[in-house]
Structures are given as structure tokens and as C-alpha cells.
Symmetry: C2
Subunit: 165 residues, 2 copies
Amino acid sequence: MQLSEGVEWGAHCAVVLAMLPDGAALPAGRLAEYHGVPGPYLAKSLQALMRAGIVASSPGRRGGYRLARPASAISLLDVVDAIEGERAFFRCTEIRRRGPAAVAGRANSPACHIAAAMWRAEERWREELAAVNVEEIARVVAEGVPPVARAKAEAWLSEVLASRG
Amino acid sequence: MQLSEGVEWGAHCAVVLAMLPDGAALPAGRLAEYHGVPGPYLAKSLQALMRAGIVASSPGRRGGYRLARPASAISLLDVVDAIEGERAFFRCTEIRRRGPAAVAGRANSPACHIAAAMWRAEERWREELAAVNVEEIARVVAEGVPPVARAKAEAWLSEVLASRG
């Protein structure tokens, strides 16, 4: 069981958008270029983030994607749920209600103990991801980034924003 | 992202095997019958549990699957890892090292903050599943099972074990 690559891409895009100057936006193609990932696939991830209200897009020469709400109000869980959907990892098909020992549904205890444990573990996973927000990630990334990488990123961004007028 | 059905089947099989009388074993076909699931698919899950040292099988008329170690020493995480493999949910492809701001690997901070948060969440999930063992599940199931289901299960098992001589 693995998360799709779109989760990694979406999270990195959200962090980059959190670092943009006020009023700036980046089109999907530029975000793909920055991350070295395939544009058409990244576009799908960005559309999923848009449907979830994490990013917004504007048309025109200076248009593109920006965060739709403050970075502090976007958790890593929001990004994961936007890309993956909110389906539970564990799907209980109630196999205890099949076979020779099956009884009518109402006679069973409310939740299978196996399913309950699986869902409890999932809840721990979600809680941990809900506790991390994009603003915090952007701050740690900004603090930890090597000076040479920061300089390259800033040069690239200046050039991109200047070229858009 | 979803766990395969084999996780549910494998966990239920482990719980049933934990409830067998001493020395008894059940063949894959009987476990499939008990759970109302397709035999050939369940056989694959059982083989995965065997490779992981969770169940063992013996040949012959009274042979079949049994637990390979005490139920208290088999966690729900052991079952999940056996069926799903131990791959992390989140695969970090180090996209921060691509694109126009990329710098040589050694210049980067040890772990991307996004990956670190994803892996921390996964660790919480694993901890929770590691804390639940098959003996405990079997005990809760035995306590909570409706009397009519228990009677049906016991009748089925007696008949199966008797038919095997």
C-alpha cells in the first residue's frame, strides 16, 4: 500500500506557493519545472488541490496557482486527503457475517474488533498529519535550505515573476 | 490508498486459528469456507502468512494451517506486514533535488521535512497496530460473539475436525 506520487508533488507545491510574495501566482508548467516533475501529471494533482479548496487559480498573463487559504490553515492531512480521497485504508467487508457461523446483522457486536483496531491506527496516522501545517513546513524548509539552493530558487523565481510582467 | 482484502482475511484466519483446540489444524479450503471468501485468493494470503512465520502448515489427512507461534506473539502489524510487505506508504523521491534550485545531495538537510512528517505519521499507525495481538482479538471476539453464532461456529468446527478423523 503506497500513497501516490501526487501526494509528494502536491505537498511540495503547497510549500512553494506558501513562499511566494504576496499577490504572486505560478502556473502549473512553472511548478512542474521547479520540481522537475511531468507537467500533465502535476496538473492533475493541482486540480485535486483546487477541488479541495487548498489552491486557487486565476487566468491571464500573471495568473496561475496560489494558496486559497492561509498556509497555517492547510494541514498535510488536507493535502493527502485532496490527492488520495478520504477512503479508509482498511475496508471491513464484514466477513464475520458470512460462512457457516454467520448470524443476522443485528445480532453482531457493533464493530468487528479487527476493524476497530485498524481504524484506530488510521486515526493516529491522520492525527499526526493533521498536526503539521504548510506554513510550519515552509518555515522549516526555509531555515534548513542550503544557501546555494536558496539563491538558485530565488533567482529562478525572480526571473519567472519578472518574465510575467 | 487501501489495504488489500488479504489483510482482512489474514487477520480473521489468524484469529480463528488462535481459537482452535490444541494440536488441531485447518486446511485453506476450510478456512475459506468458514469465512465465505474465495479459496484460491485466501490460499495466497495464507502463504504470505506462512512466509512471515505467522502460520505453519502440515501435510496429511489431519494437516492444514495452525499458528506458528503463540497468538500473543502475533501482532496485527505482523499480519499487515506479511500481506502488504513493509514498504512505507510514503515514498520520497527527493524532488527537492531536482529542478532549477537543486544542489548536490550532501548540501541538503538530512531529511525533507515533508517526508519526515509523513514517516512520523506512519510510525504512529504502526505503533498502534503493533500494540494489538491476535490473542487479545480472539478473546474480545469470543466474549462479544452472539451465542447463536458461537454455537454455529462450534458445531461447524466439531463436524470439520470429526470428519478429519
